[in-house]
């Protein structure tokens, strides 16, 4: 590389380093330091607390279970939806796709609000139970528990799971299915042995999106989870509100970052393994 190349490289990387690298560095730095009236002390105490406190670990466990369940259920619903759109005649595919992904953009906070009004005391489900006479007074069964968090996550993240699945289905050549059928495979067999393996990177990406989006969410658990719906994201968020402990918040944020990177790496490996198995 010539001097000029190196110079343009430095100029090009500078904004990314400044606006992406520096904040991530600040996160790391804050997690191992604390400042008291200008005097900075370095300590691993915050990271140790984030990783060893039984209370935080218990919430992390619950959060991971909710997020994994969100990923599985979202994919289980999004996959047949994407297959339905994909198997429409070419003429209707764009409109079916639009119907599928439009909710992605219909405001995150509004969807939480509508789920709350659906699950709440005066909500749709309670009205239904009251009118059918199954209960005689409104029940809090639907709101402020882990189930309501899971249900809201699924409603929020189905479209995010459906899009990557559809995009990977779109790349499966239509005549592969026809070839499979000609060779005597049933439609179900052709889907299972030809289409789904080819679409597996999209399915893995779908699960990853749903998992990561649910992992850091702190508004949903607060609005529909109530006091019993503590998640890791809420704990992190609370360090910057009432608890006002930036260093601990940063250390807990690092835990989320590590889980995310592990999920990204794991899905990369899963995707590669699935594709490699297909090559044989």
């Amino acid at each position: 590389m010539s001097a000029r190349h190196i110079l343009t490289y430095l100029v090009a990387i500078l904004p990314l380093g400044l606006f992406i690298g520096y904040p991530l560095g600040a996160l790391l730095w804050s997690s191992v330091s604390t400042s008291n009236e200008g005097a900075v002390t370095y300590t691993l105490a915050f990271l140790a607390e984030a990783l060893s406190s039984p209370a935080y670990l218990a919430v992390l466990g619950v959060t991971l279970v909710i997020c994994i369940a969100t990923a599985i259920i979202s994919v289980a619903i999004a996959l047949p939806m994407a297959l339905f759109v994909w198997s429409r005649p070419a003429r209707y595919q764009p409109i079916a796709l639009l119907v599928l992904i439009l909710p992605m953009f219909m405001s995150y906070i509004v969807k939480i609000y509508t789920m709350r009004s659906l699950l709440g005391l005066n909500g749709f489900f309670n009205q239904l139970l009251l009118t059918t006479g199954i209960v005689d007074k409104p029940t809090t069964l639907f709101l402020f528990n882990r189930g309501s968090i899971l249900a809201t996550f699924v409603v929020l993240y189905i479209p995010f799971a459906a899009l990557p699945i559809y995009l990977s289905l779109e790349r499966v050549p239509a005549n592969f299915v026809l070839a499979g059928r000609d060779l005597g495979a049933s439609y179900a067999r052709a889907l299972k042995d030809i289409v789904l393996p080819l679409a597996s990177p999209g399915i893995v990406a779908a699960a990853l999106f749903a998992f990561i989006l649910a992992l850091g969410d702190f508004v949903t658990p607060q609005m529909v989870g109530g006091p019993s719906g503590m998640t890791f994201g809420r704990i992190v968020w609370s360090q910057f509100g009432l608890a006002f402990n930036y260093s601990l918040g940063a250390a807990l944020g690092i835990v989320l970052l590590v889980v995310t990177v592990a999920a990204l790496a794991g899905s990369g490996l899963a995707s590669r393994a699935l594709t490699a198995r297909m090559g044989r």
Binding site: A12, F19, L100, V110, K111, T114, I212
Partner: protein, 262 residues
């Protein structure tokens, strides 16, 4: 199972999920146009009164102005930055390009809380106060990945022969950019800009961490939800969903017109 039976099953899941995704919003929207007394809705007397209340609500108007400003500035910023990186990285390959793109895509793939937290701590350690500027920065970082992706794919599709032909016909490099490259990228700019504005307008989690005392429409709505039910929330929901719908339909129309063969 036969093909048609499987399609019926897929169609049933599709229909059920679509109802689950759309009906709650439609119901809330309906409530915005009719008076609500003790939880029951009076369908005989449609009213726009809740919208009139909103128009007189200073904090909602201020939040709307902030959201609009952040969407406009952050989408313009990410269009400019994404263009520069797409042009710079176009001819590059190998670990060099991978490193750049990893940084560009990182804020999109990390949970918003991690991105927001990092920006909050960066603003605390650098002494830059939180406000509209940090919101614009946060939104630009988050939308840059999407905008960069759309523009770089479109740039890669520009046949080199067009640029060569332009040069052969005596055009300067600037003229080639002006008359060949930019027209080729134009619809990608429109779609990416609309998508970026939409993502910014809807962004809640990063914003909550970097906004400081400034408020945006999603934050305002969140605060109103915590206080409790009021019919004007439903009216605000209609406004927010309406804006999102217009932006996303416009982006979708631009993108689908583009993919249709000429």
């Amino acid at each position: 199972m036969s093909a048609s039976r499987m399609n019926v099953a897929f169609g049933a899941v599709f229909t059920g999920a679509v109802m689950l995704l759309y009906l709650p919003i439609l119901t809330v929207a309906l409530y915005a146009f009719f008076p609500v007394e003790r939880g029951s809705i009076d369908l005989s007397a449609p009213t726009l009164g809740y919208f009139a209340d909103l128009a007189g609500n200073v904090s909602v108007l201020e939040a709307l102005a902030n959201s609009g400003l952040a969407a406009l500035l952050s989408s313009l910023l990410s269009l400019v930055v994404a263009t520069l990186y797409a042009a710079y990285l176009r001819e590059k390959s190998g670990p060099f390009k991978v490193a750049f793109e990893a940084l560009i895509y990182a804020p999109f793939f990390l949970p918003p809380i991690v991105v927001g937290l990092s920006l909050l701590l960066a603003s605390a350690s650098s002494g830059i106060p939180r406000g509209v500027a940090t919101i614009v920065l946060g939104h630009s970082l988050f939308t840059l990945a999407v905008v960069y992706r759309i523009i770089s794919v479109r740039l890669a599709n520009l046949p080199p022969s067009l640029v060569q032909a332009s040069a052969d016909l005596g055009a300067s490099r600037l003229q080639t950019i002006r008359f060949v490259t930019i027209p080729h990228l134009m619809s990608a700019y429109v779609a990416a800009g609309l998508l970026a504005a939409l993502l910014s307008f809807d962004e809640t989690l990063i914003t909550a961490l970097v906004a400081g005392d400034t408020t945006t429409l999603p934050l305002r709505l969140w605060a109103m939800m915590r206080v409790g039910f009021s019919p004007s929330i439903n009216a605000l929901v209609v406004v927010v969903v309406g804006i999102c719908l217009v932006l996303s339909l416009a982006a979708f129309a631009t993108l689908s017109r583009e993919t249709r063969p000429a």
